[in-house]
Structure formats: C-alpha cells, structure tokens
Symmetry: C2
Subunit: 231 residues, 2 copies
C-alpha cells in the first residue's frame, strides 16, 4: 500500500491517525505542496483532483480522506472508529463532518492562496478568516461534547474514534493560525487525551519523513525535480 | 420525524433527495436563513451549530447532511445509496466528498456573506470565487466519470446513489452562480438522468413549502416572528 501525503496537510494528518489506530501500514510518499508537486502530471495521474492524500492498494486508488477513512473502517473493522449503535454513529460522524465539511475546507492551502490572490488578504486577514470558521465549528463541537451525558476522555466514550481523528489535526491547525483555544476546554481535554497515544503522536506533522525543507526524502517529486513546475 | 430545512440550501436539498430515494417521510419545517431563523434560540436548541438541515426522530437530533445520509443508509438500507463492494463504496463516497468537502462548503451562504463583509466582494467577485471551486471539483468528478469503464446513466452504475444525491444540488447551485456547465458533459448527462426521477424532481428547491417569500408556511420562525432577530 502506498500513501501519498504531505506532512502539514490536515487531511493527510487525519488519515495518518486513522491508519495508525487501525495498525495499517503503507509506504509514505511525500507530495510537496510547496513545490506544486500535487499539480504535476505524475501525481495527477494518480489523483485527478490533485489534492492529498491518496492511498493506493493493488492498483485501486482511493482519494478524499473522508471516503478513505470510511473505507478503512469497512476494510479493517478492528479496532472500530465508529460506535456500534446507528444513532451513535451518526453523532460521531456529525462531529467529524463539522470539521471535515465546515472548518477544514475553508482554511486549507488553496483557499488561503485564493484569498491572497483575489482579495489581497494579508496575514492578519487570513488568521481572522481561519479563526471565524474554526470558532464557529469548535463552538458547535464544544456544545455537543458538553451535552453528552456519557462523555468520556475522547469525543465519544473512552476510546479514540472518528471524531478524534478529525479533531486533533484541526486543533493543530488552529494553533498554527494563532487561535486562542481556551474558549473550548472540552476540546482541549480531548486533544490532551489523544496526545498520550502513540497512534496520534506518530501521526504528528513534525514526525513525517517529508517534514522540514530539503530532507532528501524520496517523495513523488524527485523524478520531476528538474522539470518546470506545472500550472 | 421532523426535517428542519431551507428550500435553497444545498445540504438541505441533498438530504431531501436521499430521503425521497429511500421513501422516508418527515414533517417539513422551514428555517428561513434570510430571516436569520437558524440563529434564533428556537433552532439553536435543536442544532447548536445553527445550520440546516437537521432531522429529529424520537427525540434524537441528527445534524450534518453527510452524517444524516450515512445514518439513513444504515437505518433504511433499501434501496441502497452505496454499492455493495467496499472499493466501490469508497469510489462513490469520494465523488460525494469532492462536492461535500471541496465545493459546497466554500460557496454556501455564510461564507459568501463573510467575503462580502470582510473583503468587500461584489457580485462578480462572488461568482468568480464560486466558479473557481465548482470548476476544480467538477473537473475531478468529470475525470472520474470518464475513467469509469462500467459507467452507466448515473455517477455509479444504472441506479441513482450517494454521488448523485450530492451532484444534483451542486449543479443547481452552479447554474445559480452563472457557471457555464458545457465543460462537463458527463456531469450534465447524469444531471439529466436524475431529472427524470420523481425523487429528484420532488426535492427541487422550487417545490418546497418554504420556497418563495411570504408563503404563509408554518416554519420554525412563526412563533418568533414578532421577536427581534438574535445575533
């Protein structure tokens, strides 16, 4: 199995956590977004959407982290990321979706580039934009956590699951955008509980082979290094 | 069952299609986003995220269209919205996620309002912004459809499914933002196939009880009509 990834991408990060929790291993192939490697033909042939992550197994290409994580859950059911009860599964998926649909897509690299390019957004305006969507989404998750009468150490119960997989990279991203997280003590408590676990620790951006500049890591871009960037 | 909805919301629209395909009926309760009813206490008590749609059954509240539709699939498995094979399910979920995560969240009402408020975006700039994300996402879906050697009338095979549920409202939205759809003939063909089906027709925004202004429809806002808008 091959995992096409970028260390700092939130969707890549969440997929790494899910794979670690499942104990699923794959060859890590860095796709350097800073060098536009995701837009080059080599990667476009794998994922026509030209976004990370992608997972390739026996010639099958899986894209979109949400879809890949649901695939992992069906393909490798133990340990489960979703509870057994249908209504509880919907609750956990809703928390994940608040992040996956209503926070992360607004704050990712291509969107912030568009804000800078089309609306001359400066660093302060970008931080403000990110804080708006993180704040709205985290307020909702904090309210859901507070209303959970059976709340445990994680987003749902006493074992890490789908919502935690989404939450931790978003908290990491919020810190990068200088968002003050003290407003969400329950989210911070979940983040701290996750930080105790190897599955989360080993998925951290700074621990990936492509973290930092010029690591010499054999990513997808090595063969294309002498070509002009596409797009 | 109660469905909290706004006729023109894309996430509300996709949930209506999914419910129609499943034959699941619910009482329709309009939440008028134009009058900020989603931010009033009556609705906030139902959905702390203050977004539509929400579905309430026997006291259980389900939010986030992606999570609600997966719940529908588990609770009412026939007819299925996802194929049987695990790898095919991932493929269909990926097409849905391209829309659900990478197009729709960027073009919805609260985001466009933020662009107007924080970046003084005018109508042309808003159309351009929407076209950028619709174009990138539709290019990817068109490529996935073109690469499907077993392609049928719908996004996957010969029966409507999850990806179609997401695609049709996004095509409707693209038309509203004046996006020229001729670039994506396979998407247009799927949209045309869906338009033949009652489940899609009856879910159309213009057919909902809260469509148009001052319909007298008994939405959630009726009791709050004389109160000052919250927020």
């Amino acid at each position: 199995m091959k995992l096409y990834n970028f260390f700092r991408s939130g969707t890549s990060h969440r997929l790494r956590i899910a794979m670690n929790l499942k104990g699923v291993q794959a060859e890590y192939i860095g796709v350097d977004l800073r060098r536009e490697e995701h837009r080059q033909d080599a990667y476009r042939a794998i994922n026509p959407q030209m976004l990370v992550p992608a997972l390739v197994e026996d010639g099958d290409v899986f894209i979109q982290s949400t879809a890949i994580i649901e695939w992992l859950e069906e393909r490798y059911p133990d340990p489960p990321l979703l509870p057994r009860q249908v209504r509880d599964r919907a609750h956990v998926r809703a928390m994940a979706s608040i992040i996956g649909c209503d926070i992360h897509p607004l704050n990712n690299r291509r969107v912030l580039e568009s804000l800078r390019r089309n609306f001359a957004a400066d660093a302060a305006a970008v931080d403000c934009w990110c804080a708006e969507w993180i704040g709205a989404g985290f307020d909702a998750i904090e309210a859901l956590l507070a209303a959970d009468r059976h709340r445990g150490a994680f987003c749902f119960g006493e074992a890490p699951g789908l919502a935690d997989v989404y939450l931790v990279p978003q908290v990491e991203s919020a810190r990068r955008f200088n968002v003050d997280l003290q407003r969400w003590p329950l989210i911070l408590a979940v983040d701290a509980a996750c930080a105790e676990l190897d599955a989360f620790r080993q998925a951290a951006p700074g621990r990936q082979p492509d973290a930092g500049a010029n690591t010499g890591h054999a990513g997808i871009g090595v063969k294309q290094a002498s070509q002009a960037p596409a797009g």
